[in-house]
Amino acid sequence: MKARITITLKHGVLDPQGKAIEGALGSLGFTGVENVRQGKYIELDVTETNTDQARSKLKAMCEKLLANTVIENYHIDLG
């Protein structure tokens, strides 16, 4: 089963990349762009076929490694 995990910075956490991208877009002449935030996107396959099992397993992966829950939120999409 395919899983897509998006990891985003919590509100209020400093995001140098997002800021830089926003600046760069501006200097490239792209106006009307705001609140750029950069996060991570992870795709993977789990052999687990039971959706609930898979989800709880992915949750554990995020908590243990994929996200730094002090500063990041994560969201899991399955199948």
Binding site: P16, A20, K64, L65
Partner: protein, 221 residues
């Protein structure tokens, strides 16, 4: 003092650190491989700089979860002194031994240059040979040394005198909040800093400003 250098794949400033510890403290540190589950009997564990696991995912994240770190945490809770430099600092924050995180430099570029560090707290095992307020020259070499923590945490660090090193004279190379270059934990036995004192200890380095930091380790023993 008896010390150990912890080696993760991708760490690359272990040689520099070994040289510094040996030449200044006079004792050669033991090297411990990340896969081992137990730290030998030492007073100080050092995590040197580098790119453990390529800095992939988040710098320090993967190393922080390797077997040896469990024992480091356990022994740190019982007073083991721990020093993390650069990637070592990042690993310590990822392991939860120090608060905050180190994010991408505000300039988004890797930066290798000399900065000025002010010793804000000289009552630590790594700074006791220097006067409070001393300013030392020291190089940095990192792409993700931008220290960040929420306002509450930073305020606590300030109040409790847990900011050990601060960038001064407009030399903050990465945009770190409150010019924080290095901090210590509440119990006072875990220190992390981004700059590389091991690269500033002899004439060849242009100055030996950072020698006293390593001499402090002897006193602390």
């Amino acid at each position: 003092m008896k010390s150990a250098i912890i080696l993760f794949p991708g760490i690359n400033r272990d040689g520099d650190m070994r040289k510094a510890l040996e030449s200044v403290t006079g004792t050669r540190p033991i090297t411990v491989w990340h896969g081992e589950s137990e730290l030998p009997n030492v007073e100080l564990a050092v995590i040197p700089g580098g790119f453990s696991y390529g800095d992939y995912l988040r710098c320090g994240a993967i190393a922080a979860r390797s077997p040896i770190m469990a024992d480091v945490k356990a022994k740190a809770a019982r007073g083991l002194k721990v020093l993390g430099v650069c990637n070592g600092f990042q690993i310590l924050t990822e392991a939860g031994l120090l608060p905050g995180v180190l994010v991408r430099n505000s300039g988004l570029k890797f930066v290798c240059r000399q900065v000025k560090l002010k010793v804000e707290n000289n009552r630590t095992f790594f700074t006791n040979r220097l006067q409070k307020g001393t300013v030392v020259r020291c190089p940095v070499a990192h792409g993700e040394g931008n220290y960040f923590a929420d306002a509450k945490t930073v305020a606590r660090l300030e109040d409790e005198g847990r900011i050990v090193f601060r960038y001064v004279e407009e030399t903050n190379p990465n945009g770190a909040v409150s010019d924080i270059a290095g901090i210590i934990n509440e119990a006072g036995n875990v220190i992390g800093l981004m700059p590389h004192p091991e690269n500033m200890i002899e004439a060849l380095h242009g100055a030996s400003d950072c020698r006293p930091l390593f001499e402090s380790l002897r006193v602390a023993a």
